[in-house]
């Protein structure tokens, strides 16, 4: 687990929810996950490819997403799944945007793909050689889950080289 790659996402999520909701947040739970990720609500999946690779999932229950949307819009929003999905996407964009800014400024080069909403019942597999970290953040609107699986592409290649030489 590469904490130096994961920490920016945790910090960004914490800051985005605290600033957006103007209320303190708390990391309620943190766990390693090698299993397929099963969403708890509406999950936005973002892929990252380049010198560092992996994926980040932001997962909120629809009612939590609608509470956040209502808070940010400053007025009642349509209580629909579409609004909830869009809210999760925009929150994912903010979390990813803030975290990749930090990683980019550290010199890593990579491409971030737009968030994809995941609503299927089957789980989301992590990378083949990457375990994921699942973080539960307690916010003023409810629980938010972040699932992060990241690794260095170049370092992995280098690690594989000696093994190949033995073949």
């Amino acid at each position: 687990m590469r904490m130096e790659l994961i920490q920016p996402f945790i910090n960004a999520a914490d800051a985005v929810f605290a600033e957006s909701l103007q209320a303190p947040t708390k990391i309620a739970d943190l766990a390693m996950d090698e299993e397929t990720y099963r969403r708890k609500g509406i999950a936005a999946l973002i892929l990252i490819k380049g010198e560092i690779e992996g994926r980040v999932i932001l997962d909120l229950a629809p009612e939590v997403a609608l509470k956040v949307a209502t808070h940010l819009a400053g007025s009642a929003v349509e209580q629909s799944e579409q609004v909830a999905r869009e809210t999760v996407c925009e929150l994912a964009n903010m979390v990813i945007g803030n975290s990749v800014t930090l990683l980019n400024d550290q010199g890593f080069r990579f491409k971030v793909f737009p968030p994809e909403i995941h609503v299927n019942e089957q789980g989301l597999a992590g990378g083949a050689d990457t375990e994921a970290m699942v973080i539960c953040i307690e916010t003023a609107c409810g629980q938010v889950y972040l699932n992060i699986a990241m690794h260095y592409l170049h370092r992995r290649r280098q690690e594989r080289e000696p093994a190949s030489a033995l073949d």
């Binding site: 600033e19 940010l72 980019n104 737009p114």
Partner: protein, 150 residues
């Protein structure tokens, strides 16, 4: 809720904004802040192409422009708007705040940059700054409602 002195044009009318973001949710959030600042929404757009059309139609005082959008991204829309309207005042609003993005937007003619999540007090100060450079204001500082001006 924070209170802000209204940002007004030189003619004391509300500042008119064009809000460009592919997320309705993000637009609503910005519109809420615009209303807090005493502004008026001239138009909305969800992509760069529509933003150009809406700019031509509404001639806003300020454009709040997202970067990552479908069809045409914000930076390209900035370039096209500024090419046609050198006086355009565009503030980029994006989650991604790394230097290359900011520099690219500024080089294409954007006046400023604010990172999401947008804090009202930060956006307010940026708008004050951008409006103070208002060419239609003939060098006069932006009028703030309730602010004493000699």
């Amino acid at each position: 809720m924070q209170q802000f002195a209204a940002l007004l044009r030189k003619d004391s009318r509300p500042v008119r904004y064009l809000v460009v973001d592919d997320s309705v949710f993000a637009r609503k959030n910005l519109i809420k802040m615009i209303e807090m600042f005493g502004g008026e929404v001239a138009g909305e757009a969800g992509d760069g192409l529509t933003a150009i059309a809406e700019y031509n139609r509404t001639k806003p005082d300020i454009v709040l422009m997202d970067i990552t959008m479908p069809q045409m991204e914000g930076i390209e829309a900035v370039e096209r708007i500024v090419r046609q309207h050198a006086e355009a005042r565009i503030v980029m609003v994006s989650s991604v705040g790394y230097q290359e993005n900011i520099l690219a937007a500024l080089q294409k003619g954007a006046k400023h940059f604010v990172q999401k999540p947008v804090k009202p007090e930060v956006l307010y100060e940026i708008l004050r700054y951008v409006l103070s450079d208002d060419p239609t204001a003939a060098g006069a500082p932006v009028a703030l409602a309730g602010e004493h001006r000699s």
